[in-house]
Amino acid sequence: MTDVLTPVLSKNWGDDRAWTLQAYEDQGGYQALTKALSMAPDDLVTLVKDSGLRGRGGAGFPTGMKWSFIPQDDSAAGNKPKYLVVNADESEPGTCKDIPLMMASPHTLVEGVIIAAHAIRAKRAFIYVRGEVLHVVRRLQAAVREAYAAGHLGSNIHGTGVDVDLMVHAGAGAYICGEETALLDSLEGRRGQPRLRPPFPAVEGLYACPTVINNVESIASVPSIVTGGIDWFGSMGTEKSKGYTLYSLSGHVKRPGQYEAPLGITLRELLELGGGMREGAELKFWTPGGSSTPILTAEHLDVPLDYEGVGAAGSMLGTKALQCFDQTTSVVRCVLRWTEFYKHESCGKCTPCREGTYWLVQVLQRLDQGQGQPGDIELLLDLCDNILGRAFCALGDGATSPITSAIQYFRDEFEAGMHTPSSELFPPVASTLFTPVGGAA
């Protein structure tokens, strides 16, 4: 049995000046790089494949397998330059793990980038970071500068003949740019709109060249796997969801924050660690992995938070963004706000999502105001049905998740929206942090 919490990525976050090269190397940083540079690229791909590491950006696709899709043979694609792009756009509502990781220990990511680039034989890599996090951008820029100065980046790294150049690229505010093909368009200086697939990024990604796109946490996990080995990694987590991961607890809880644990821990266990819900509060509903994952309720407190467990409960592990709401919270209000977000962020490329999210907001608004019309719930479900599976990218699908799941568990609140405003049923002031539960304005 491993311990309940297993800090690996977060282990050095409390260290003095943890973001500097000095502090990172003092606690063992860049030793994995030395080891990785002595390994053949194919062996690194095999290592990561065998470790069972699955993408931490939401989909859970095996990272090593993704790397193995990059053509390395004598084909036309195999002869093109290869690129590694780190997805640091972190914008899925509720998701807040990559930003603190890069703020505290940007070198963990940089070390992972160099190793991953070596593995897929990419000479150039990019970190695409959302623009709205100035200090994180600074920390990344400085880490890259320091890594160059130390000879960890550049040409002929430490005399091994390996070349890797890395650039930090700041986005400009668009959730859709987290979608990997939209991200590529954005990185090419275009509007961030998803691309038609095929061709897939592994063949024609950035500049129509073979490209791997991985989440920050996925890449940051690589150095520890190189150092620790696959058995070490697999000693944490569950059969099909191996290793440790960052769970982000937020909302009406006593101790919100980042909790690094083996995959498969439950929300009940995580909540207990931090003293549970805020004083006098009960858990009403929660998202397991951001707003695009169907909500769950208190009956799901013991669901193992791994890909299989959350899937079996009818949702998705997603980004492990555990947003917890208590009994003071109106489900209708929350669903409306999330839907407004999707409407705003819809890139407009396809009709089901562009039109669908518009109509969803119209209907949800009147339900929120207590002016719902008979048939509105069916209308919502029908609209969702027309988006799910018909949208061009997963943003559209994600937009339907909160709605259909909320109707499944809290249909009565939507019915109440035919006559009573949500703000009457659930006065918003009671949900704020400035009001003790049960207190008045």
Partner: protein, 272 residues
């Protein structure tokens, strides 16, 4: 008004950093904003000229992204997160109070030109809710009162430091950093604070840690101490199709279908 030669040089410098110059457009527009206070026609034309694009193409990109502003911005950009979690925890109340206090609406600038107020989407800091930003620096765990104090200090020109970052400069100075020019403030502020350290602190109290590296302390330690050589365990997913099935729904779609694509030569990257 005309863009200074130094700015043109810097714009060209950014374009030169990328394998293909057009990739520089987003950082170039950040730089235009830092110099001009918003994305101006002149800025658009200059970017277009350097990148050999039409002004319409550049404009089409600029209007797609919310961080690019078409109207002159105030000295400071103040953001209030009103995405669901922050909104519920108090973000809505904070935003209402600030609109009142500053006498502006969303995306408007105060009469003294000091503050542009905007409600923003989830800024990846939900464990610090309710969250605000000033020039894209975090101001965590805010209340309506602390928010009013914050904007008053900014208007009075007092020194203000982010709760997890550096001393506040200006929106324009921030845009310059986003364009790729460091400003020397990286070492201000902590590595991590408050909620970021919640799990780590509990682990320390309880004496919990990850198994020792290389040890393979768990049940599957049979393959020896150092797995890095690529010892094959009978684990995980063997085929792309199976991986696709096990991955979470449509978000895995692209990766999934990559398996069927011609790229799937599995050349040197394959282990068997």
């Amino acid at each position: 008004m005309s863009l200074h030669d130094t700015t043109r040089d810097e714009l060209r410098e950014i374009a030169g950093r990328y394998p293909e110059a057009r990739s520089a457009l987003l950082p170039m527009l950040h730089l235009v904003q830092s110099v001009e206070g918003c994305v101006t026609v002149e800025g658009i034309e200059t970017c277009a000229e350097i990148l050999d694009l039409s002004a319409a193409e550049v404009s089409g990109v600029a209007t797609f992204y919310t961080m690019y502003k078409r109207r002159p911005m105030g000295e400071h950009h103040v953001g209030v997160c009103t995405n669901t979690l922050c909104a519920v925890m108090g973000g809505d109340a904070i935003f209402e109070r600030l609109k009142d206090h500053l006498e502006v609406g969303n995306d408007e600038t105060t009469a003294d030109g000091k503050i542009s107020l905007e409600h923003i989407e989830c800024n990846a800091a939900c464990d610090f809710a309710p969250v605000m930003t000033v020039n894209w620096e975090f101001f965590d765990q805010q209340t309506p009162e602390s928010a009013v104090e914050l904007v008053d200090s900014l208007r009075a020109g007092e020194k203000v430091q982010s709760t997890r970052g550096a001393t506040i400069t200006s929106w324009r100075a921030a845009e310059r950093v986003l364009a790729g020019f460091e400003d020397g403030l990286v070492d201000e502020g902590p590595a991590a604070a408050g909620p970021t350290l919640a799990g780590l602190e509990i682990a320390r109290e309880k004496g919990w840690e990850a198994p020792a590296p290389g040890g393979g302390a768990g049940p599957r330690a049979a393959n020896g101490a150092d797995g890095a050589g690529g010892t094959k365990t009978a684990v995980a997913t063997e085929s792309p199709e199976q991986a696709a099935e096990e991955a979470d729904t449509s978000r895995a779609e692209s990766e999934t279908k990559a398996a069927e694509s011609p790229a799937d030569t599995k050349g040197g990257g394959s282990d068997d």
